[in-house]
Symmetry: C2
Subunit: 769 residues, 2 copies
């Protein structure tokens, strides 16, 4: 067992590591050559231009102003300086609210820590249980609940504190929920006109033998929302096309690389092999090879493009329907359209950037089956993931490698390397699995059929949290694989389970303190260094970059990564709440984590990350819910722990705590969650009225016409390389083609649609009846 | 243990009892004097007039046509003859769909029974386990799973059958859900214009210092639904008034009674005591006493009436808002109105008859707290109800009675009576509790704040089912109080619980067979006899009835009683599904119950019951959900049972079954439930369009104006006695008074409201912004 001394040493090491990272960051960020790695957000916003363009040659790459090194931590106050409204404007509401999660951590844990140190540490310390026992114990344990003698009246302190901490946490949570809900509504109300305010996504358009999806959607909404329907856009199945474009872009990268290589060394034309990974196959001239390949792809893309536009089957049974007012869109999104509740499903359209196009056409039954499959798969992933890894580990031994790659044998047989591999190899399969876990979870969410990237990330985050809860939290407390735990729990009674876990909790405090320092402190400090993007940027810069635009593309600002970041924070909430009563000495470590992470992520959000979408803090109910789960877990475990301490009279009093907490959660859910899933009509009407007064002649139709176009058709923002390479001329064709097909229908043009087609709408009715 | 012979005897007794009930019913129903007891529905519909008015004196009371006695069971085919559409028209959709629950029972269990008897009975019978064991066993047990030797491969049959039965049950459930959903939509679409189609109930209108609720509601909806708002009615807090009216009605009854008594025996004016229950106090002249008391009450009612109308505080923060079209009402009911999701809550208005007026004004926080309180109270009621009963039992012993009522001592001391009381008394407290249980549950639901009677009944049914499941089903299988069970289960592991119950299940088969025969067969046959209403009707007829109208009121048609009836059926579903695989011999008893109940209730619905409201089969999702619960319970118990039979290889295969069943439930929920909670816009639009074409000049406002008035203000339907006794003149005053208060506001009149007040609406906006 670790003593206080050990913890101090570990803390010192980790503080030094974190400090080293910060120093390295401070030096690297001041070098102009790294400017695009550490300030990409400003480049993307067009507020910063390359420092390479000005000054002396050396000054372009290395910062020679030594004064700037002195103030090497001055990014910290700078990161904190930007006020929140400006931050929302700069980086979006998602990022600003994400930072609030850390603030919630501070708000919950700082008062709890003070209270715990003022009251519980003395109560625990002034006992002699451990001193008089024969057990080995550490100073940390003397500060924990383990030091209280069995059956002591002092447990009442812990009981009262559990209530106090829970009430404080709930109070902070409620206040924060109210603030975030208000921020969201304010953001939605005050922000500029966005297409998703007027647009509803319609899924599962039922098949019709007489009409195309295009006509069907128009008719349906003209009939059922006659005074409000404005226009719609059908969804093309462009998955193959976007794959092709993606492929072509990769080839283009290679071509660029070889051209640059050739231009630097004109003596020899670069060549490469055509086979697997360039390792085998015929040797050909690289530039010619890639040029011809790109031409092939361009042709294929053109054919696919034609196919999509001309084949009615490539229109998916989904559409983005836009309305004349926000009010009408809010109405359509919140109501059921058709008698059959599995067709004509409407929901708020996600932001155009946020749409996950591949999932727009999944029918209801399939969705339902996919959900079952993913649920079962996730269950097995969580509880049985060790089985395939153990299998791989048993295969990937030294003998196996020697057989597969005999030429490595002499190297492997060197004793030092052999023992290194033998020690290292078993871990590597697990490590690789853990690295790929977020990707696997993301694939699951994609398979499950969510239609926006934000929803995908939210669901992945939930799964990642469950995985971490079972395999990291429970797995560390009760050593053994998740499956063994599951087996144990099935064979234990309902009141035995919290007891089993509760008893082990005080013993694991030192482990988790170390975990927090390594994963939290050093990990967060490493995040700011951005080692991977730094290396990749310089590699790309060296190998691919020809023009300023290429350099722009070589930047990888990255995103917040909600699906991995949030579950990590939640683990700290869980640890903090569980140990608050049991071993309060863990709390300062949590506070340092939250404080450090807040500053670092604030800096990153201001200077680095570029959010791909804006969901308007739609994730907050999830965050709130998981903190509540942590609270309930902590209460149950405390109950289990106290019941073994023969403080029986306190257990019934503790039962009320989870009941009240669950009630509090349901109260908050009813009170605040609607702000995150629905859009109040009052709000919509207000914005509509204001807008009508300000811009009476607004051409909304023009604004919405092409807002929801598959990004591959736009060719704009990030795939401009296509637009430049021969496909650009195809693009304008798309709109006329769509229009032609519409002209063939007996419908009037859209502009007069809602008025002159009313008789048709009635006719339609007659058919329906 | 009961043998087949015992069961046969019990069956014979119960069949004879049921038969006796039927014969008694057949005789009683043919007597003209009972006509209003057995055919009240037809009287209420005005399709049958009193047979007392015509024919000879004796013929008025006794049926002398002996031929009609011969065909004494002919009500059965008659009950089955009415086709379903006519039944819906006659008794409403609720009743028609309620009958379908019995049909579902037949559809599920008839094929299952055939399959079970064809395959499982031979498989079970052809073993010798019980014969070779030393256990005492009955012939019933030889037909059950107990007869299979441990570890036998024959358990595969049970496994396959469990799958077959589950799939069949799910298939029937899905088909039925689809049919009922369609029936509901068809009913909503085809029925006549009803106020609730155009009306939305708005609750939690926020307080406003400048405007009254009346004005506030009008402004809010004029602003936020400008083109659709038609009119609204505020809700008066008339709880006290309706209590007074109720009280007065009771007094009126007594007055009638004494007047009738006096008119029959003019020699002596009736007198009564004023004190508690007429047992003590001064003796006064009854007629004078009640006349003066009624006068007092009339005055009090008039004052209260004035108070309600003139005091703005008696207007509750809720209103019924009517729209010009069904479409607009559907929109308003399904959307969120205000930024704060706990104010301006909208939902479909229940039918006027269905409104539970007392609960319309409960604020959100209070509702939330009430829900917690009721949940905790129900938990204690379910698990600890034996404690107060045991306490009462300990008090209510012979000595206690002798002390309290010493004059009874000589009677009680007779040995026979003493032993009778001693044997009877302990049970009586429990019996009284069980009789009052539905009322207690109903009170809980009322306290919880549901705003329609149908919702109250649905929630009470859910609670009653849970109570029965724990205290009847589990309580019979594992003898012991619910609290002891709870204690057991907490101390048992998750896989031990189904095992404990599962093992006891085959042993309890004979008990449940007897239970089905007593509670199901004889109980249902008793239902048709209507003994209690028969006696009460004749008592009233003798004591109170003066006019034909009084006789009309003396009828007590009763209702289906969803809150007690449905949980009873569900218990049979549970028993049937649990025993289908274990002891198939129980199934025919279930089938007889479902068949008999179907015929009896069909007869009662056609001839007797008078539904108080029409919810459009809104209860079906509950029914479906509970059958699914029964299915899952049966699967888990089978798993537990098989795991003790060392048929271990089959357990993993059984785990898939509940998973699939839960998935099926979620699928059905998504597919069909929206039909029961939302109203598709397409549907609404179709009806609107049709109506506009048919009746272009409809005065909808007139139709809706007073649709949602507290019944006490109407004085119509059932409280006409008030209207006749001096309050009638107050009634017309109500409307002008309301109008006056409106004229004082600067608003235009309602008829031009939506058009001419638009500028005001904009002004309103300006204030809000």
């Amino acid at each position: 067992m670790a003593t206080l001394k050990d913890i101090e040493v570990a803390a010192a090491i980790n503080i030094l590591t974190a400090f080293a990272f910060f120093v390295a960051f401070a030096i690297l960020r001041l070098q102009p050559v790294n400017d695009r790695v550490y300030f990409p957000k400003w480049y993307l916003k067009g507020l910063r231009s390359s420092p390479l363009n000005s000054g002396a040659l050396v000054g372009k790459f290395v910062n020679l102003d030594f004064r700037s090194y002195v103030r090497f931590l001055n990014w910290m106050p700078a990161a904190l300086k930007m006020p929140e409204p400006e931050l929302i404007d700069h980086a979006g509401l998602d990022s600003a609210v994400y930072l609030r999660i850390y603030l919630v951590g501070l708000k919950i844990f700082v008062p709890i820590t003070f209270l715990a140190f003022a009251i519980m540490v003395p109560v625990n310390w002034t006992n002699g249980t451990l001193e008089h026992s024969n057990l080995t114990y550490s100073d940390i344990d003397k500060l924990s609940i383990s030091n209280i003698p069995i059956g002591s009246d002092r447990f009442w302190t812990h009981l009262v504190m559990a209530y106090a901490f829970s009430f404080w946490a709930c109070y902070v949570l409620k206040k924060e929920y109210a603030i975030v809900a208000l921020m969201r509504l304010h953001f939605l109300a005050s922000e500029q006109r966005r297409p998703d305010q007027f647009t509803v996504l319609v899924k599962n358009v039922p098949p019709d033998s007489d009409e195309s999806v295009d006509e069907l959607v128009e008719h349906f909404f003209l009939v059922n929302h006659p005074e409000h329907y404005l226009t719609h856009q059908v969804v093309y199945n462009a998955n193959r096309l976007s794959n092709l474009v993606e492929e072509k872009k990769k080839l283009q990268n290679w071509l660029d690389y070889y051209q640059l290589k050739y231009s630097r060394n004109q003596s020899k034309r670069p060549s490469s092999r055509t086979g697997f990974l360039g390792l085998c196959g015929d040797r050909v001239d690289s530039i010619d090879f890639y040029t011809s390949k790109i031409e092939n792809f361009s042709e294929e893309i053109a054919t696919e493009w034609d196919k999509i536009i001309n084949n009615p089957k490539s229109i998916m049974p989904a559409a983005f329907v836009s309305f004349k007012t926000r009010w009408a869109a809010a109405v359509c999104a919140q109501t059921q359209q058709s008698r059959n509740p599995t067709t004509w499903l409407t929901e708020w359209a996600p932001e155009p950037r946020d749409v996950y196009w591949a999932n727009l056409a999944i029918p209801y039954v399939s969705l339902s089956i996919r959900r079952l499959i993913v649920a079962v798969a996730f269950f097995f992933l969580t509880f049985f993931f060790m089985i395939p890894i153990a299998f791989v580990q048993s295969l990937a031994n030294i003998e196996g490698i020697e057989k597969a790659l005999p030429f490595l044998k002499p190297i492997i047989e060197i004793k030092f390397i052999k023992s290194f591999i033998q020690g290292f190899l078993p871990g590597i399969a697990l490590k690789i699995f853990l690295i790929f876990l977020p990707t696997i979870l993301m694939l699951m969410s994609k398979f499950e059929g969510f239609i926006s990237i934000s929803a995908l990330e939210r669901r992945s985050a939930t799964r990642y949290y469950i995985f971490q809860f079972i395999n990291v939290f429970l797995g560390s407390i009760i050593t053994g694989t998740a499956f063994q735990q599951l087996d144990n729990f099935i064979h234990q009674s309902a009141n035995e389970i919290p007891r089993t876990i509760g008893v082990s909790i005080p013993m694991k405090a030192t482990f988790f303190i170390t975990y927090i320092m390594v994963d939290g402190w050093a990990g967060i400090a490493g995040e700011i260094l951005r080692l991977k993007p730094l290396i990749i940027y310089h590699l790309k810069n060296f190998l691919l970059v020809k023009t300023e635009k290429d350099r722009e593309e070589a930047m990888d600002p990255g995103t917040l990564g909600f699906n991995t970041g949030e579950p990590q924070i939640q683990l700290y909430f869980l640890l903090g709440l569980v140990y608050a009563v049991v071993t309060p000495v863990l709390l300062p470590f949590i506070i340092v984590f939250f404080g450090l992470a807040y500053v670092v992520y604030r800096h990153q959000i201001i200077n680095v990350y570029n959010q791909e979408y804006e969901s308007g803090a739609a994730f907050w109910p999830d965050v709130h819910g998981r903190i509540i789960v942590a609270l309930i877990v902590s209460q149950l475990l405390l109950m289990g722990l106290l019941s073994t301490k023969q403080a029986a009279q306190s257990t019934p009093l503790l039962i009320a705590l989870p009941v009240l907490t669950i009630w509090f959660h349901r109260f908050c859910k009813g009170r605040y969650e609607p702000a995150f899933v629905r859009y109040p009509l009052q709000e919509a009407m207000m914005k509509d009225t204001l807008e009508r007064a300000r811009e009476p002649n607004l051409n909304l139709k023009g604004f919405l016409q092409n807002a929801y176009m598959h990004p591959v058709f736009k060719g704009g923002d990030d795939s401009d390389s296509d637009a430049a390479s021969g496909d650009g001329d195809q693009e304008p064709e798309l709109v006329p083609t769509k229009r032609n097909s519409r002209r063939n229908t007996p419908l009037p043009s859209k502009h007069s649609g809602s008025v002159s087609s009313l008789p048709e709408a009635v006719q339609e009715h007659a058919q329906l009846l």
